[in-house]
């Protein structure tokens, strides 16, 4: 019983734990930005007037949304790097970091695309017609009129996706060789079974994700488009 409630390992490893969370935050920010860009491009493709774009977008979403994240990451690490020797950096740690980031971003982008597409569907058809009638091209209408309104209507669901993504960084950490986070992997393996270690990590994630949830909720209210 004593071992179960002994918090000394948490305090002993505080430096390592903080370092691990720093890795989580870095992964979250880079992956978040990348997946948002990729997801937006995909959503644009899925509503494009050109059939090939629509088809490619649909194919992408269906493949990545229905493939387990661990499989994608394993493919990135083993398939892309070890077998195909695709290298993003000569330094292997940097290489694996970016492969992991791209893997998670590719996965998350499929969900962002679908959330955005449902947002695009909430924008009345008249908005697109008015944009075209003014002489904007398809790309301009999308960028200046449709997407800004679509984003505002899906901020809350996007928030959920980003929170899920934050937690998925652990999968990245466990499934690949991200060195800065290796400590976390070790701690999971060696001390993960203890309640104090579990609590430390659970609380740590809540410290990151709870404010994210509040922030997105606030943003959704603030930017709501009144019609």
């Amino acid at each position: 019983m004593d071992v179960l409630f002994d918090f000394t390992p948490v305090f002993d490893n505080m430096g390592d734990i903080l370092q691990a969370f720093w890795a989580v935050i870095r992964l979250t920010v880079t992956t978040g930005i990348l997946s948002l860009i990729l997801g937006t491009i995909l959503a644009g493709m899925r509503v494009a007037p050109v059939r090939i774009f629509r088809g490619a977008g649909t194919l992408y979403v269906n493949v990545f949304r229905n493939t387990p994240l661990t499989l994608i990451l394993a493919f990135c690490a083993l398939g892309l790097s070890d077998t195909l020797h695709i290298s993003l950096s000569t330094q292997s740690t940097v290489n694996f970091y970016w492969l992991a980031v791209f893997g998670l971003a590719a996965y998350t982008a499929a969900f962002i695309c679908e959330a955005l597409r449902s947002g695009i569907n909430t924008v009345p058809l008249g908005q697109a017609e008015a944009a075209r009638a003014v002489g904007l091209t398809f790309f301009q209408s999308l960028r200046l009129v449709i997407l800004p309104q679509a984003f505002r209507s899906v901020i809350a669901p996007l928030g959920s996706i980003f929170i899920a993504m934050t937690k998925n960084t652990t999968v990245v950490i466990v499934a690949s060789y991200v060195e800065s986070a290796y400590i976390m992997r070790q701690l999971f393996e060696e001390e993960g079974a203890t309640i104090p270690m579990f609590l430390a990590f659970a609380i740590g994630f809540m410290i990151i994700t709870l404010p994210m949830g509040f922030f997105f909720g606030w943003l959704a209210k603030r930017l709501a488009v009144s019609r």
Partner: protein, 268 residues
Amino acid sequence: MTDSGVGPELSKDDSGAQDDIPGGGPLVVLENVNKHFGELHVLQNINLTIHRGEVVVVIGPSGGGKSTLCRSINRLEPIDDGTIMVDGKKLPEEGKDLARLRADVGMVFQSFNLFAHKTILENVTLGPIKVRKLGKQEAEKNAMELLERVGIANQAQKYPAQLSGGQQQRAAIARALAMKPKVMLFDEPTSALDPEMVKEVLDVMTSLAHDGMTMIVVTHEMGFARRAAQKVVFMADGQIVEESTPDEFFTNARTERAKDFLSKILTH
């Protein structure tokens, strides 16, 4: 059918038409235009010529193809066959050419369709800045003049949802005018308005007509047709049934279909 006296007289362009093609020739020409919605033949062999500076009112029963006709002129509705020429050029199929043509054709919708996330001023300046590549300052100066002209300059910083329907529609007219279009299309501009707001919108449209703007107006406002139009086009069941001057049409309609329609709307 061609009332050539109207064209040259009013064409001296106060309409802001660009001078790429000088004065001559009709501005909008529809030839043998056909359009189907599934089984429904909504536009049947439509032939219509609109001269520079002419105000054409399209009236007729609901579902007769009036709106479709109006929307086909800037290709918001693609047509099945026939040709539509705007200022001597055939309507492009898609892409940049079509966007350029649409910039020259102003459109005012029944439901206003102001960009909900932008202020009134931003609504009016978006096209000039992004399509005409005007500087922000110049675009804003022009926009304020236009908003002044339609009487809502004091609402420039508000969002569309904060305005009344009549104010929104006047803002939408200003947005279309900001592109300095060659022709303006009005698709039932007063049908979604409360009765007391109809007048303020019609007043703006009437003053536009008097300034020589070429206008195609789908409407049920017979008063506006009498006051401002040079030509009335009566459409029913996808066909142009009658085409004449407002005076002649309202006092002496030639076809039974038109007489029947007029008796229904003028007697209540």
